[in-house]
Symmetry: D2
Subunit: 125 residues, 4 copies
C-alpha cells in the first residue's frame, strides 16, 4: 500500500479509512452526530491546550518544538478524523461544503475591503 | 473548473484552496497556530450547538432536517477549513498524521477487545 | 479557617481566592482575557470528555460513579476557576451579569411558551 | 429584592436562582450532565470568539470596549449559569470543589518553582 499523504489522498480515501475503522469495531452505534460533535470539540480543546499561555508569535515555535510536534499532529489528526466520521454518518460531502463556504466567505470578505484586516465582516466598512 | 467533491479532491487541493484565500487577503499574519486552534474550537462549539438538547438518536434527524442541514454543513466546513489552515501554517501533512494516528488507535483498540464497546482504551479489559 | 462551601461562600470570596493564587505566582501577566477564555474552553472540553459516548440518561450515572466523580468535580472546578479569574482580570461582576442574563432569558423564554420544550427561543411559536 | 452582586451573593444563592428558572420551565428533563457539559463548552466557545484574532495584549482592550463588553459579560454569565446548573443536577458543591482543586494546584505549582512561569507543572524543574 502506498503511504497516505496530502498530495495523493482524496477526502473520500480518508473518509473510507475512518469508516472502516469504526465498522470493524461496530462503533457506528456510538457515532451519532451529537456524540461526534462533542468528541470533535473535545479534541479541538486538546489541540488548543498546547498554546494556552504562549503569545501568537511564540505559538509558531511551540508547533515546531520537537518534543511537542508529534502530539500536536495527533490532536489535529483527531479533529479531522472526527470531522470525517461526522461527514460519513450524516452523508455530507466535505470538499463540496468547503467550496460552497469559501464562495460565501469571498462575498463576505471581498479582497479590497478585508486585506490585512481581522474584523468580522459585520464590522468591515 | 470541475466541482470539488470528496471523491476527486485531495487534501493538498483543499489546503491550497484555503491558503490562497488567506494569502489574497494578507491574513497569514493573523493565522498563528494559537489563533487558528481557537478559531477551530469556536467553530466546533457552533457545530455542537445544533445538538445540545437532542438525544443522540434525535441528532440524526437534526442533521437531516432540511432547514438545518445547510448550516450544519457550514459549521463542519469551517472546522475543516481551520484544520487545513493550521496544517498549512505549521507545515503538517494531515493525511500522514491521520494514517499514523489510526495505526496507533488500532493498537489501543484491538478489534477483539473493543468491538461494540465505547470505553476508553485505558478501561478496556 | 472555616471550610468553603456553596452555602457560605460568596462569589467575591471565590474571586479573591483565585486572584491571590495567581498573584502569589506572578501569573497575572499570562492572564489576558484571550488566554483565560482559551483555558476555560479547554477545561470545558475536558469536562465533556467524560460524557462523549454515554446517552444523556447514562451520563447521570457517570457523574455519580465513584471512580469518576472526583475527576468530574475537578474539571467543573477548573471551569469556574477560569471564569472567576476572567472576571477578576476584566473587572466584571459575575452575579450581576448572571442576574441580568436571567432577566433577559425570562423574556426570551416566557414560562407559558417554553414549558417542557427545548427549542431555541427563535423557534418557539 | 436587593440586587445580586458578587460581594453579597453566595454560590448557593446563584445555584438556587438557576435551578428555579429551569424548574419553572420543566427543563430539568433536558439537563442531563452530558447536555449541560455540551452547552457549557459551546458557550465557552462563544466567549472565545471575541478574542480570536486579537493578541493577548489587545484582548484587554476588547474586553473593555463599550460596544462589546455587554456581550462578553453575557457569554461569561452563560458559562457560569451552565456550570451552576451542572452542579445542581449532579449535586456538587462548587466552592468546596474549587477549594480542593486549589489546594491540589498549590502542590503542583509551589510558589518558588512557578513564579512568573507558565509551563505546565509536568515541565517545571
Amino acid at each position: 500500500m502506498k503511504p497516505m499523504t496530502d498530495s495523493v489522498t482524496t477526502m473520500a480515501d480518508l473518509k473510507a479509512r475512518v469508516l472502516a475503522f469504526a465498522r470493524e469495531r461496530d462503533w457506528e452505534q456510538f457515532h451519532a452526530p451529537k456524540n461526534l460533535s462533542m468528541a470533535l470539540a473535545a479534541e479541538a480543546g486538546e489541540l488548543m491546550e498546547h498554546f494556552l499561555w504562549a503569545t501568537p508569535e511564540q505559538s509558531q515555535a511551540v508547533a515546531r518544538d520537537a518534543a511537542k510536534r508529534g502530539k500536536i499532529e495527533d490532536e489535529l489528526a483527531d479533529v479531522v478524523i472526527y470531522s470525517l466520521e461526522f461527514a460519513n454518518i450524516t452523508g455530507m460531502d466535505v470538499a463540496a461544503a468547503i467550496e460552497r463556504k469559501m464562495v460565501e466567505n469571498a462575498k463576505k470578505y471581498p479582497v479590497e475591503k478585508s486585506r490585512g484586516r481581522s474584523e468580522k465582516y459585520t464590522d468591515l466598512k
